[in-house]
Symmetry: D2
Subunit: 342 residues, 4 copies
């Protein structure tokens, strides 16, 4: 049984786990003030080509989202998110638990656009409703689509014109930035957003996200928020060491590319067999539509998530590839599907 | 330069890091629903000899405290803590950030007693003040003292008589339960408290605490709180695997005993040289009092925290031992001190 | 210029203001522990014919909603509301500010139904989303519609079957219970909901809502929440005295009936002139649809809210009647409209 | 039985209740946007002699404190308060309920001084503790003492030097500013604090406090916080009309002076009979020390609060005077006491 359920089924990329082993007994300062975290910060700033950003390492995505967003907002301010946004649908009300309303916008492809923002602003105009202040986007989105540079520029512009903060959830940024259709860079993102995070957990790390704060007004006192929300690991080295390994060369992007290559193999194979997809997603999540009886057969050998019912006979599923997904496994899946396809 | 600053300067106990390496590429369910977490839960229940408790694995101590306490309380309820309690002095207002007042009680040895609880209850009697509802204690305490069984029984009794919940912060429970003066067991604790946690981070794990919920009224829906506070690791296996290693035999207690043995070496050596201590702490934190010029000399070769000024000439420092502290290092410290002592 | 903008444009019903004057210099206990509040509580219990409920007097509707809902819920629980619900659209994120997500349901007539609840429950099934726990309804709704007894029974049933709390916002309960189509009573409501409030502010009081807690599990310690949220008036008598006046005879219902009678006058007059309404609302808010040029003319002599654009030429407006609205004013409005209608 | 329990036992000053009656049926805009609130704001600005401040009318003191403080702070910031401060001891954890720790400082006379602030700052220096950001003081204090101008200047200076906000709770500001020892003015206060409030409830209003925001950085969006916390009265006129009456001439200060005159009568009479006081309080709260048997006798005819046990035989009680306290009543009390005094 092989699982395509997600990109966090395995542990860490072998290079990461080996470095953890190698450095294990060295003594370090606690709470992220160690030399590994410092070095990781430098390496990431280098890749971003922007020395002025602040970087904080945090264990997971939900935690990063809730700490950043609650630190950036005053109590009366709200967050605009696509109705597919992870903070809106999959984080157990974590943003609301910090006191802030999430204003959902219906979208078709997981992405927010200029008109969506303006539409919200036109309705939220006085103190009887929250004040929209931060725009939350994900790249890649929760359904595998990505933002092109021109799209991000447009969003960034409408945010700045309206004094809104732009925050990008990069849980799957490695896959997004490494896929064929991508034309964004970390440097672009650092100039167009107020903050974003570079996801480690879904890109080969055991755990860990690197929050990048670009807007200088948002930097002050940030470590207080980490501590107050319980996010400051005593052995912060654990996060620093992993991000060094991801960014001291190109491992972060190589893992993203590998994930995408494996997804391409699956996508092309499935497509060649005549199947359609729920959405055109160029990254490491794909959503093929199969007849229900085919899904039942596939489930005997593969793990995956049932995504959305299309009609009585057909359903879309989600297949996700990881740093550890092997070419042979993908080819076997296609072969199995091919045999099920008359 | 060797650091006695704390018990989280190194990575993990070698057996733990090796097991992480060995299991690294296995596929697991996410979010703590994997077989490793299940197995770890079973092993801990076995050691507690109590199958009815619920166990949740959480990354760190502050996070465990804030999630448990905020999950257990209604909005108007407050927490009683020693004025030395970690939640009162060292967690950046994390409990208050979840909406709950911490009511400090002045204590001399880090421990709460029956009279302390009754004194608070006598003052907090109507709706113009918060309603005291949970008693927070640490074992070992922040200054290395421990609770004897009779003391915990007394506290438990006064709590139950007054419908107060008793919660034990066990960040250093391994050291506490393994020291010579201890007469408590995990089983006792599970019967006398409503919830407690077994600290991994300061007892040989890379990260991780095992929250044990004993009171059945507190169990329902607890995973929601983990998720909402950003504490549910996608690769929850990371915590499960470590706790298996700590509890599949006696490693957890062996590490605690090793920490204590190293502290004993230091304590006895320092004492034999005629020095006094700020507090009589039997566990892995000791607080010797030295002349300031001796501290300045020691600082050239050793890292430690300056704890409290005693008078113009003397100051107490804190020395902490870890799973990785070596006998030779302790003996060298004593030798260096001996040479500084005329 | 006469304003039909809302039912809180004037001060209090003359009987109320006179009683405040008459009792002004008597000395009372503070914080709602005075004999007036006690007497008011008794009178309301009498009208409800249910001595077991608890009653608390609170200054306004938003405050009542946020205190009740946050007192009733645990941190991970959410609220189901119609997308027109006051807590969802008009209270500045006050529920979210207490940490709870509001889950909106699209409805057409302001009312929630059994299927709406079941649909939410079918989607919110694990700890990655909030746990729906409380159903918020308004009667009359924000668009003037009311719940019939059979409808409330059905909602109550689905709530109890699914361990959901049912809470009714009665800001305009006086008008709702006094309108011709109504078949509900306070007694029914007290048996079918877990808590509800009886609105004073929009029914002739200067300020004040009477929160009625029916479910005994929700009663404990409620006054703590009042105090903690800043809702306990030092001169609580101000609320008690007003509710005595409203409930010592039938003034509360007479005011509701007067509001409805005035709305009926407007509704019938407008209808007779051939105009349609956005929604069929039997209570003291009506939503006629006029040509834009007629609205511009009416605005010269009358205040009202523009509600919703129907098409290029037509818009619906909102007219609200109060305890102080006079018959002549309504007839004059109809006359003015009639003259504008060719 | 006459009650000296507090200054909110009666309703409103007769001029206020009469104006409410006179204006009762006028139609006004809702939510504090009426012309009465505007006029009241102008009148108060005039008295402050400072046109740049912002003024908001809020129902009560706890509500004002919690809204202002939570609006002014970021999540990681805490409040410094005397250990006698109302927010620390008598508001049911309302500040903590908004997420902020209150840091108590032991004081003897209810007042904070420069050294107190510096002492807190010396201990709260990193992200493992909250960041002190706002200093909360009361004038008069909870034990009737007042701040002299030089004292407020000193506090203001230390706050500004350390980027701390200074907030004055003026629940009893009328009495404070009208007492013989006072040398402060509203204008001084507006220059020395970042915000303060002018208490109406304890100075002749039915309810209502006027929050004055002096620091321009704190003004933005404040009405959102009012709404979100449920503090925006639909009939906001109720507050505006009262403050017009208090400030259109000198009624506010006359009431304060009357309260103080009555307290002077009591204080002088008690003192002349040879009794001592717990604290030297020049305003409308006094704390005489009596033998317990005298207290038991007085209780038969007078209401008051037992304040603090002095020794086995003696206890201090609190006597508070209000706008409605009569000279004869005070003289009768002294006479009764005189008869009890052998």
């Amino acid at each position: 049984m092989y699982s395509f359920k997600n990109d966090y089924s395995e542990g860490a990329h072998p290079r990461i786990i080996e470095t953890l082993l190698r450095t294990n007994l060295e003594q370090c300062e606690g709470y992220g003030k160690d030399t590994y975290c410092e070095e990781a910060e430098k390496l990431i700033k280098n890749k971003i080509n922007n020395d002025s950003v602040n970087i904080h390492f945090i264990s997971g995505g939900t935690q990063t989202n809730l700490i950043a967003i609650s630190a950036f907002l005053r109590p009366h301010e709200g967050v605009i998110s696509a109705n597919t946004g992870h903070i809106f649908v999959n984080e157990a009300g974590s943003i609301e638990a910090t006191g802030h309303k999430v204003i959902p916008v219906d979208v078709v492809d997981g992405k927010l656009r200029r008109e969506d923002i303006l539409s919200v602003l036109s309705k939220f105009t006085n103190e009887h409703v929250v004040k929209p202040k931060l725009v939350y986007i994900s790249n890649s989105t929760e359904i595998g689509t990505i933002y092109k540079q021109s799209e991000l520029e447009e969003l960034s512009k409408v945010c700045r014109e309206n004094k809104l903060l732009l925050f990008m959830d990069g849980a799957r940024l490695g896959s997004a930035l490494s896929c064929r259709e991508n034309d964004l860079t970390l440097e672009n993102i650092s100039k167009l957003t107020d903050a974003f995070y570079i996801g480690g957990t879904k890109n080969g790390a055991l755990l860990g996200e690197a929050l990048v704060i670009c807007n200088k007004d948002l930097k002050e006192d940030f470590r207080y928020h980490l501590k107050q929300k319980g996010a400051m690991l005593a052995k912060g080295r654990l996060l620093g060491i992993q991000f060094i390994e991801l960014f001291k060369d190109n491992l972060f992007f190589e893992i993203g590319k590998h994930e995408n290559d494996m997804a391409d193999l699956l996508r092309d194979g499935i497509s060649n067999l005549g199947y359609e997809f729920l959405v055109d997603s160029p990254s490491n999540q794909i959503f093929p539509i199969f007849d229900n009886y085919i899904i039942r057969e596939l489930e005997k050998s593969y793990g995956f998530n049932i995504w959305e019912k299309i009609n009585k006979e057909k359903t879309s599923i989600r297949l996700v590839t990881s740093f550890a997904t092997k070419k042979e496994t993908c080819l076997e899946f296609i072969k199995a599907l091919s045999e099920l396809t008359k």
